[in-house]
C-alpha cells in the first residue's frame, strides 16, 4: 500500500493546521517584545518571559475580568443545570395536566435564535434595574431547553424499578433525585455541566451589551477592550491576554474531552 505514507502526511498536516495557531499564540505570549518584532520570525523563543502578562495586567484589570468570568460561569452553570435537572425530573417522573404541551413549549425555546432576543432582553434587564449587575449577566441565560432535553432522555433510560423502589421506601421525590437518579446519570450530568460551563465562559455578545464599566467586564469582552486600547502595535501583550482567556477552557478540554465529545455527538445523532 503506497497510500499509507501519504495518509500519515495528511494527518500530520491536519495536526499542524490546528495546532499552528495555538503554538503561535503560546510562543508569542512568552517571547520578549524584541523577538516578536523580528523578521524572519523567531520560531523558538530564546528566553521565556512573563513580561507580556504583567503588561496586559497593567493595561486592563485582568484580575477583575477573571473574577467576573469565574462568578458568571460558576453561578450560571449551577443555576442552568439545576433548572435542567429539576425540569427533566418533573417531566420524567411526575404527573401533570397538559404535560406534553408544556414540554413542547420548553423545547420550542431552542427555535428562538439567541441573537434575535438581544435588544428586547436588554430593555427587559434595563427595566429590572439589572444593567451592569451580576443578575443581569446571569439570569437571562439560565433557562434551559437543550440540557433539559438531554437530561430527560437520560432519566427515561433508567430502569423504573429503581425509582419505584425508592418511592415505596418513602423517600421523597427530591431525595430520589439526589440519591438515586442523579448518581445513576453521572456521565450525562458531567457532560451537561461541562458544555454549559464552556458556553458561559465563552459568552461574548450578552456581557458586551449588558455591562458598561471595566469592573463588570468578563474576560472575552475585556480582551476586545485590551485590543482596542493597545491598538495592534503590541502583540505580546495582546497574546498574553488572549492566553488568559483560553487557558482555563483548554485545561477543561484536556480533562473532560470525552464528556464534551460524547455529549455533542449524542445531541447531534439523536436530534
Amino acid at each position: 500500500m503506497k497510500t499509507r505514507p501519504l495518509q500519515y502526511v495528511a494527518l500530520l498536516g491536519v495536526a499542524a493546521i490546528f495546532l499552528g495557531p495555538l503554538y503561535w499564540l503560546l510562543s508569542t505570549a512568552f517571547k520578549q517584545p524584541a523577538e516578536i518584532y523580528q523578521w524572519p520570525p523567531v520560531w523558538w523563543p530564546d528566553q521565556l518571559t512573563w513580561e507580556n502578562f504583567s503588561l496586559a495586567w497593567k493595561a486592563a484589570p485582568f484580575d477583575r475580568f477573571f473574577l467576573n468570568s469565574a462568578i458568571i460561569t460558576v453561578a450560571g452553570t449551577v443555576l442552568k443545570v439545576a433548572n435542567a435537572v429539576l425540569t427533566a425530573y418533573a417531566f420524567a417522573y411526575l404527573r401533570f395536566p397538559f404535560k406534553k404541551v408544556l414540554f413542547l413549549l420548553i423545547l420550542g425555546a431552542m427555535m428562538v435564535p439567541g441573537h434575535v432576543t438581544l435588544l428586547p432582553n436588554y430593555l427587559t434587564v434595563a427595566s429590572l434595574g439589572w444593567i451592569n449587575t451580576y443578575a443581569g449577566l446571569i439570569i437571562p441565560g439560565i433557562g434551559s431547553a437543550f440540557a433539559t432535553f438531554l437530561m430527560r432522555q437520560q432519566f427515561l433510560t433508567l430502569p423504573s424499578e429503581v425509582t419505584d423502589a425508592a418511592a415505596v421506601d418513602g423517600a421523597g421525590h427530591l431525595r430520589t433525585l439526589w440519591r438515586v437518579v442523579l448518581p445513576m446519570s453521572r456521565p450525562m450530568l458531567i457532560t451537561v455541566v461541562v458544555i454549559t460551563a464552556v458556553e458561559e465562559w465563552n459568552n461574548f455578545v450578552w456581557p458586551l451589551i449588558v455591562t458598561n464599566t471595566a469592573e463588570m467586564r468578563t474576560l472575552p469582552v475585556g480582551l476586545l477592550i485590551l485590543k482596542d486600547e493597545e491598538g495592534l502595535a503590541n502583540w505580546g501583550t495582546i497574546m498574553a491576554g488572549t492566553l488568559l482567556v483560553l487557558a482555563p477552557m483548554l485545561l477543561i478540554f484536556l480533562v473532560a474531552q470525552r464528556y464534551i465529545v460524547g455529549g455533542i455527538t449524542q445531541g447531534a445523532l439523536k436530534g
Partner: protein, 301 residues
Amino acid sequence: MLTKPADGALTRRRREYGLFALLVAPNLLVIAVFAYWPILYNAFLSLTDWNMIAARPTFVGLSNYRRTLTDPAFHQTLWITIVFTGLIVAGSLLIGLALALLFNLPLKGRGVVRTISFAPHILSGAAVATIWLFIFDPGYGLVRALIEPFGSEPPDWMNNSDWALPGLVIVYLWKNAGFTALIYLAGLQGLPKELDEAAAIDGAGTWTRFRAIKLPLLAPITFFLLITTVIGTFQAFDVIAVMTGGGPGDATTTLSWSIYKEGFQAFNAGRAATLSIVMFVILLIVTTVQARVLERRVHYR
C-alpha cells in the same frame, strides 16, 4: 370509610401537581421572559420609532419594514450574510467530511489529531479571533512567514474589503471544521459494514463505495449539519466584532452585526427590532423545513 383511599389518592395527586409546578416554574419563567417575550417585544418595537431615550416609542406602522426592505444597504447586508453563510456551510461540510474520512482510517495517532482538530470549537470566539488577527498581521504575522518564501506579499487582510470576508470565513472554518468532522466520524462509524464489504467484494473501488454507499447513508447527518451550521453562522458575532467590526466600510456587515449596530451603536430600536424579526423569520423557515424533512423521514422508515 370508602372515601378515604380516594381522598388519599387525590391529595397525593395534588401534591404531585404542586411539586411538578414548583420544579418547572423557574425554568419556564426564564424561558417565557427571555426567549418567547422577546419575539413579541421585537414585533411591537419593529412598528415603532424609538431612540431608547425618549419616554416611549412612537408608533409608525410598517414604515420600518418598508424602509428596510427597499434599502440597498440592507440588500447588501443580506447578500453578504448569504455569501458568508454559504461559504462557511460548504467549507465546513467538505472539510469536515474529508477530515472524518481521514480519521476513520486505521492510522496511529488519529485519535489525538481528531481531538486537536475539535479543540478550537470549544474555545472563546473572541480569543480565537484575536489570535487570527495577529496571524493575518501583514507586518509580523504567521501568514506572511508562510507565503513570503513563495515570493508573495500578504494582503492587509482585515483592512482590505476584498480580503476581510474570506479572512473571517477562514477563521470560522478553522474553528468549526473539527466539530463537523466529529459528527461525520460518528456517522461513518455507525454505518453498517456489510454493505461496504459486499461492494468491495463485487469490485467497487474506494471512490465508488464512498459516492454510492457512504455519502447517501450519511445524508441525514449532512442535513443536520447543514441546518445547524446555517443557524449558527447567521448568528456569528464574536469573531466579526473582534476582527472587523463589520468593516472595512460595510464589507463584513452581516445581518447579525447590523442588528448590533442599529440597536447598540445607533440606538435605533425600531430598526434593530425590524432586522431581528427578519432574522427570526429566515431561521424559522430553516427550522420548519428541517422539521418537515425529519417528519417525512420518520414516516417512510
